[in-house]
């Protein structure tokens, strides 16, 4: 694909702050109309990456192309054509929703009307309300309205649902899905795996400034070694090593890791393999503290790739 066909094209991106290498050689592309997710723990370099894309941070090295344009040469045009929602912006409490939207709308040559924006983010009832009185979810929807004021082709959302309650989060997801339907390219950072799974066509998993995996959520989950994950905690067993060996050897177990008595197995068919697991546990005389199964998620991919959990990494 020629360079200008990509909505986003990053090559060899590096950025350090003092001793901290925030982004360490990142290549990333997003096609037009695609929703690309950057998933990773806090400090993985997601925000730095996205702020470099937004032209707010200058990279130490590497190339950034958005919609075939570069910040060095086409900053004014790029600002008109992209939409941005930043982490933790606090809008002015004493302005109303409508006043805030009208102010931001005035910065763009073309775009949606104030009415259309209010309707799009479903803040009609709060139109005349002061920003200071909005709930977290409503404030975040206001931030989305401002990101969309110029009817952008490319939208950057930096942790759009962090700190929201589940209902507000689902509400925002619906809004993002609406944006996808209108053909916009969306670049989204998150540390919620369900969010990435639900919204993103493709996900890049980041850790310590690098991209450690990339693909559709399905492909990545397949990477975790299976569709189902079994986790069990062993309280007491005569021979821990023999137990681990026998579990690993079971038919249908694709991956097995054991850490301090917690065994984690990737299993292709839960209903066939579970009886075998219990038989082994019985024979080895193991006492369990817990037993859990769940469908494999991007979290499991992260654990497999880094040996750490996404949340406490």
């Amino acid at each position: 694909m020629a360079g200008n066909e990509w909505a986003l094209h990053l090559e060899g991106l590096r950025k350090s702050f003092g001793d901290v290498q925030a982004v360490d050689g990142l290549d990333l592309v997003a096609g037009r109309g695609e929703c690309l997710g950057l998933l990773g723990p806090n400090g993985a370099g997601k925000t730095t990456t996205i702020e470099i894309c937004e032209g707010l941070t200058t990279p130490d090295q590497g190339q950034v192309k958005l919609l075939g344009l570069e910040w060095k040469r086409n900053a004014a045009e790029l600002r008109q054509r992209i939409g941005i929602q930043l982490q933790e912006t606090q809008f002015t409490d004493k302005l109303t929703v409508e006043e805030t939207i009208r102010l931001f709308r005035s910065f763009y040559r073309r775009g949606l009307t104030v009415d259309a924006l209010v309707t799009l983010v479903e803040l009609e009832e709060k139109r005349k309300a002061r920003v200071g009185g909005l709930s977290g979810g409503q404030k975040q929807r206001l931030a989305m309205a401002l990101a969309l004021a110029g009817d952008p082709e490319l939208v950057f959302l930096d942790e759009p649902t962090t700190g929201l309650d589940p209902q507000a989060r689902r509400h925002l997801w619906e809004l993002v899905e609406e944006l996808k339907r209108t053909g916009r390219t969306i670049i989204l950072t998150t540390h919620y795996m369900e969010e990435a799974e639900r919204l993103c066509d493709r996900v890049a998993i980041m850790d310590r400034g690098r991209k450690i995996a990339e693909g559709t959520p399905k492909e990545l989950i397949a990477l975790a070694g299976g569709e189902e994950i079994v986790e069990l905690g062993v309280l007491q067993v005569a021979d821990a090593e023999r137990l681990a060996g026998r579990l690993k050897a079971l038919d249908g177990v694709r991956e097995h890791t054991a850490l301090e008595g917690l065994h984690r197995m990737a299993v292709s068919e839960l209903h066939r393999t579970t009886p075998g697991i219990f038989a082994v546990l019985e024979e080895e005389g193991a006492h369990l503290s817990e037993f859990r199964t769940h469908s494999a998620t991007l979290e499991d991919v992260f654990v497999k790739l880094t040996g750490r959990n996404l949340r406490d990494a």
């Binding site: 707010l56 600002r79 941005i84 912006t89 606090q90 002015t92 302005l95 005035s106 401002l146």
Partner: protein
């Protein structure tokens, strides 16, 4: 006119300016400091320092004859005290002069740094010398003149105006900018296509709009309540206010150009304004400071502003006669503005 409102909706400079103006009006504390406080201050000072007939000064003397002689003077009220009582009364400020009778003549005890003490000494000496038989050799008479424009209130109103222009410009700019920076709103605005020059201009425009109200309220009150004179041209007075406000806006911008928190900017603001509160002659003439520090005092923007405002209002000077202060104000417009553009932290 739907066309005009549509145009204004789409004009970023109008929206930015109107937003600033709107936010100022929604800040009740700001309204108090900008409008009510200077009026209270002017009112209070005007009443406290109103011109009164000359005070009768309390003095003490150590014998009854002298008390009677001193009470002949309209300027003095004398009481009989012994020497130690008199000294105690002097130390506690109940009298300003003690007259002690000696074997030959009298001794005056008073604090020569207290103007009332000096006045009392002159009046007492005159009264006692007369009682002792001295006669004046020159015939004199008094004609009393109470000129509007020479009163303290006339002097202090231009000072208050200058102080108010300084405070509202610096706080108005500095606080809002740092507040927006702290809330990451500045970063968000810079991430949009908003022209940065319009962002800065919007502060100046809203400042000027506010200025009209602010100046009109303070000067209107002073004129109405105290009859403070306006001897210079009114449009030149307006121009001086604008120039003063621009200079302090530039200074406010500079103070706010790097600070990340409201605490930091508050400290910097006070640090910047404090020397001017003291040195710039708001409440008393700046020429009272020693000549060694005069170059510094004269170089301060508030001194220049207040000198020019007094020149216009009290002396009726034209702008052409005040090129010195004007040049200093202009300098304070250009240099801080240029500097802050270079170092401004946009995120």
């Amino acid at each position: 006119m739907p066309k005009l409102s549509e145009f204004l909706d789409r004009s970023s400079i109008f929206q930015l300016t109107w937003t600033r103006f709107r936010l100022m009006l929604r800040e009740p504390e700001a309204i108090f400091w900008i409008f009510i406080f200077p009026i209270l201050l002017a009112g209070g000072l005007g009443i406290a320092f109103r011109n009164r007939p000359a005070d009768v000064l309390p003095v003490a003397a150590t014998n009854a004859q002298m008390v009677a002689a001193l009470n002949q003077s309209a300027e003095l009220h004398a009481q009989l005290l012994n020497e130690s009582e008199g000294q105690h009364a002097l130390a506690t400020g109940r009298v300003v002069l003690v007259v002690v009778a000696l074997a030959a003549g009298v001794r005056y005890e008073f604090d020569d740094t207290n103007p009332d003490g000096r006045t009392a000494r002159r009046a007492a000496d005159h009264a006692l010398q007369r009682a002792a038989g001295r006669r004046d050799v020159l015939a004199t008479s008094d004609q009393l003149v109470h000129e509007v424009g020479s009163r303290y209130i006339d002097f202090v109103v231009p000072g208050l105006l200058g102080m108010n222009l300084m405070g509202s410009a610096m706080w108005g700019l500095g606080f809002s900018i740092v507040d927006m920076r702290q809330k990451k709103l500045l970063k968000r605005m810079v991430a949009s296509p908003m022209p940065r020059s319009e962002f800065l201009l919007s502060f100046l425009f809203s400042r000027l709009a506010m200025l009209v109200l602010e100046v009109a309220v303070l000067l209107g009150f002073s004129w109405f309540a105290f009859g403070v004179p306006f001897r210079g041209s009114l449009w030149q007075l307006g121009a001086l206010c604008v120039l003063t406000s621009l200079a302090f806006s530039a200074l406010g911008l500079l103070v706010a150009s790097r600070a990340r928190t409201l605490e930091a900017v508050s400290g910097l603001m006070n640090l910047t304004m404090f020397p001017m509160w003291i040195l710039s002659g708001i409440f008393f003439s700046a020429s009272r400071f020693p000549s060694m520090v005069q170059p510094l005092v004269r170089a301060l923007p508030l001194t220049a502003a207040i000198d020019a405002l007094r020149g216009n209002m009290l002396e009726g000077l034209g702008l052409g006669q005040m090129l010195g202060p004007l040049a200093i104000l202009l300098f304070w417009c250009v240099v801080p503005f240029a500097l802050s553009l270079r170092i401004f932290r946009w995120r």
